[in-house]
Symmetry: C2
Subunit: 120 residues, 2 copies
DNA sequence: CCGTATCCCTATCGATACTG
DNA sequence: CAGTATCGATAGGGATACGG
C-alpha cells in the first residue's frame, strides 16, 4: 500500500531532484559566487562572469529567481536599471558554492596530476 | 608587464574554471552522492542513480576518473567486474555535494513557495 | 558485465536584431 | 540598459547493437 507519507516523500524527492537539476550547473554556480553579498546590475554581472553570454545570463537569472535564490529589483528609470541580490536561500547555497571553490583550490594540484596520468 | 606569477595565476584560474565546468553538473553530483564511502559496481551505480542512462554514467565516470575523483578497479573475471570508489579528492568534493543536499532539504519549502509566487 | 560506437533527435548555446 | 525572439550550428543525450 502507498501511504500519504510515501506520496509526500516521493513528491519531496522529485522536487529535490528537480532543484538539483536546475541549480547544479556551472553558470548558476558562477553567478552565485560572483554575486556573493553584493548587489549587481545585469551588465555588471555579465562583465564579471567571464565568458557568459547575454542569453545564458538572463536564462539562469530567471531560473534562480523562479526558485527564490535571487531577488530582482527593477528601477523604472531611463535607461532601466535592474539589480540582482542573493536572497537568504541564495546565501545558503552560496556556502555550498564557496565550499566547492575551496575544494578546487585545495586539490588543484592533485587533479592536474591525475589528468597527466590519465593521458597515458 | 605580465609576470610569471600572473601567468601561473591565470593558468590556475583557467584550470579551476575547467574543473568547475566538468564537475558542476547534476550527474556528477548524483554519482558522487551515491558512491559516498562505498564501492559500487557499474551496474549497481546505474541502478542506484535514478534515471541515469548507460551512456551518461560511463561518460561521467570517465570524467571523474580523469580528474582523479574516482578510482576504477577492474577485476579480470568473466563476466567482468568493475568497481568504483571515491578517492580522497573525491571524498573532499563529496562534502560539497553533501552540503548542497542539506541546503536542498533545508530550503525545500521556501523554494516551493517561491515557485508558486513566480507562477503569477 | 562492461565498454564503445552508431544513429538520430532534441535541447543548448551564441549571434543578431528588435522593443520598451 | 535590459529583455525577448529568432535562427542556425553544435553538443547533449537516449536507444540500440556489438565487441571484449
Amino acid at each position: 500500500m502507498v501511504t500519504k507519507q510515501d506520496a509526500d516523500l516521493s513528491r519531496a524527492d522529485s522536487l529535490a531532484r528537480e532543484i538539483f537539476s536546475d541549480v547544479a550547473n556551472k553558470w548558476a554556480f558562477l553567478i552565485i559566487e560572483t554575486l556573493g553579498d553584493r548587489t549587481l546590475r545585469f551588465s555588471e554581472l555579465r562583465d564579471a562572469v567571464e565568458g557568459i553570454s547575454h542569453k545564458m545570463l538572463t536564462q539562469n537569472l530567471r531560473m534562480l529567481e523562479r526558485n527564490g535564490l535571487v531577488e530582482r529589483e527593477v528601477h523604472p528609470t531611463v535607461p532601466p536599471r535592474v539589480e540582482y541580490t542573493l536572497t537568504e536561500p541564495g546565501q545558503g547555497l552560496r556556502a555550498t558554492v564557496d565550499s566547492m571553490c575551496g575544494w578546487t583550490q585545495r586539490y588543484l594540484a592533485d587533479i592536474e596530476a591525475a589528468r597527466g596520468r590519465f593521458a597515458r
